[in-house]
């Protein structure tokens, strides 16, 4: 339904213009994401002090020249911690999204190609998983397998999987009857090859956008779990863990929680804006 409306409302001229020129919003978003990736790979380029170094007489410095984002209760530099935290936070977000998509592809393919009974079974499984709100599912998972970065990734991935699976299944059903699939079948290609070469790439294309945005959401959910103390254990420079540590001092040292949270917001915002730009470009190419 939404595809139909897009076609009728976006004139071709406008699509071409957005596709050829990068507007300031997407440009900023992509720049910030690039900055994050560099910070994740080589944090020492931006942050010069040790994120774990304790300097007791420097505790609770408000943001200033010496410490851009201030210091925490042990005198650790918040800016360094946020920069060094990028690696783990990004990794958790990417890994959780990848896991969610992996589960979703398996369920979506089973549902979309496996015949009526299997499809109904997958439908039921999804409905059951949907009845657990993501954080409740994640809490249950952490209850069973303990806390830490590994379970955190799996818990966040599991929480996101049902939503993606529903989309994959819809896409597979839509692509399954396309002319090129029929052609591939008629040419006598083996089923496995058709699924890998034709069906999946075409079914996944619209999902690239959802995935881009999903990484941001996964970082938010993972930091919610870390915030509850179920993720990376305390002095680790991870954004959610930092928020959780700063929570006790919120009345007199706002910068402990403000800056890690700001990075989470900017990351989510960037993935959303970049994802939408990608969507416009893809749709522009398709129409």
């Amino acid at each position: 339904m939404s595809e139909l409306t897009f076609e009728t409302t976006l004139p071709a001229v406008r699509v071409q213009r957005t596709a050829s020129r990068l507007r300031p919003g997407p440009l900023l978003a992509v720049t910030f994401l690039a900055f994050l990736i560099i910070a994740a790979l080589a944090p020492q380029l931006f942050a010069h002090s040790d994120p774990l170094a304790i300097v007791p007489h420097d505790a609770f410095h408000p943001p200033g020249w010496a410490h851009w984002f201030g210091t925490d209760q042990s005198g650790r530099d918040i800016f360094s911690r946020v920069i060094y935290g990028t690696r783990q936070s990004l990794f958790i977000g990417l890994a959780a999204t990848a896991l969610a998509m992996g589960i979703a592809i398996v369920l979506g393919l089973l549902g979309g190609l496996g015949g009526a009974y299997l499809d109904r079974g997958v439908g039921w499984l999804l409905e059951i998983l949907f009845a657990f709100p993501s954080l409740v599912l994640a809490l249950l998972f952490v209850a069973i397998f303990g806390s830490g970065v590994g379970p955190l990734i799996v818990a966040t991935g599991l929480g996101g999987a049902p939503g993606y699976a529903r989309m994959v299944r819809g896409q597979v059903l839509a692509v399954r009857n396309a002319g090129y699939i029929e052609a591939a079948v008629a040419l006598g290609h083996p089923t496995r090859r058709i699924i890998l070469r034709q069906l999946l790439p075409n079914a996944m294309r619209p999902l690239i956008v959802t995935l881009t945005m999903g990484v941001g959401q996964a970082i938010v959910w993972a930091s919610a779990l870390s915030f509850l103390g179920l993720g990376a254990p305390p002095p680790a420079p991870e954004w959610g863990t930092m928020l959780s540590m700063g929570r006790d001092f919120v009345a007199n040292a706002w910068w402990l929680t403000f800056f890690p949270g700001l990075f989470i917001v900017l990351t989510t915002l960037s993935t959303t804006v970049a994802g939408r730009y990608l969507q416009q470009r893809l749709e522009g190419r398709l129409s």
Partner: protein, 326 residues
Amino acid sequence: MSAITYSNARHERLARLARRATWRLAGGVLVLWAVATLTFFALHLMPGDPVLAILGGASGNPTAETIAQATREFGLDKPLAVQYALYLGRLLQGDLGMSYSQHLPVTQVLAEQSWATLQLTFSALALAWLLVLALTVLTAGRGRWVSSLASLAETLAAALPHFWLGILLLAVFAFGLRWFPPAGSDGWRTLVLPAVALAIPLAGFIAQVTRESLELTLEQPFVLTARTRGLSDTAVRFKHALRHAVLPGISLSGWAIGALISGAVVIEVIFSRKGLGRQLYQAVQAQDLPLTIGISLAVAAVYVLANIVIDLLYLWIDPRQQGKTA
């Protein structure tokens, strides 16, 4: 004659709605059974001895006799299948067992805590919709600048994690300006900050889809017809366009209930509010099996019910959907 066919059609429509509601309820019961089964078996795989959790953790140093007695008392010496059958039997009678950590019936804990969470989530949902309607109806299709400014605000709102927003609100309005109490769950003043923290990100999500669909609706021929009949712009927006434009937002509200409950866990912890979310968090940490299962079931039941209501609401607002989604 025409009156009769009209009332017949109306009657038939109601009957169809009722049939659909019955089917959905039956499906919902099955989903809840599956949820109960899944949580029961999953949590019995949990490492650690539940008996120790009952007796207050390993630090309590219980004697062998008290352990044996508690094991018998809570039926933990029976095989898992028997425990499951007994659990289901009790569940059918509305008995969810005794909480290990609070030594109270789980149903009693649920009854005490649900109201606070329902209050929080529904005021957040209502506030979110209020924000959405105000923002979209006033700004949709009003020129490029207004539109892009409002859409920037929505994107930003949707990107705000509620726990961060909660902490910021706490720092500014509770500790800084002292307008609202920082913690507690008595009275409307304690409800304001948590509800706002949950509502703003949600409003961002719903407003994005509602704006898009409102802008599409305002270009429809029937809107032009209404304008040519001399209706004011406000009347066109509220009476004619809105009904069409809220549909995607309403179907998103089903997802929103789940997101709100997830959010409530964190928000209740931040604001030290009474409620199911914080209770679940504590139950998980205390390895309190019956309470964890009980709250998960209650949450799933609310979610399933809310989605049935939303499904019916959808059909009621847009009767065209009836043929399509049967």
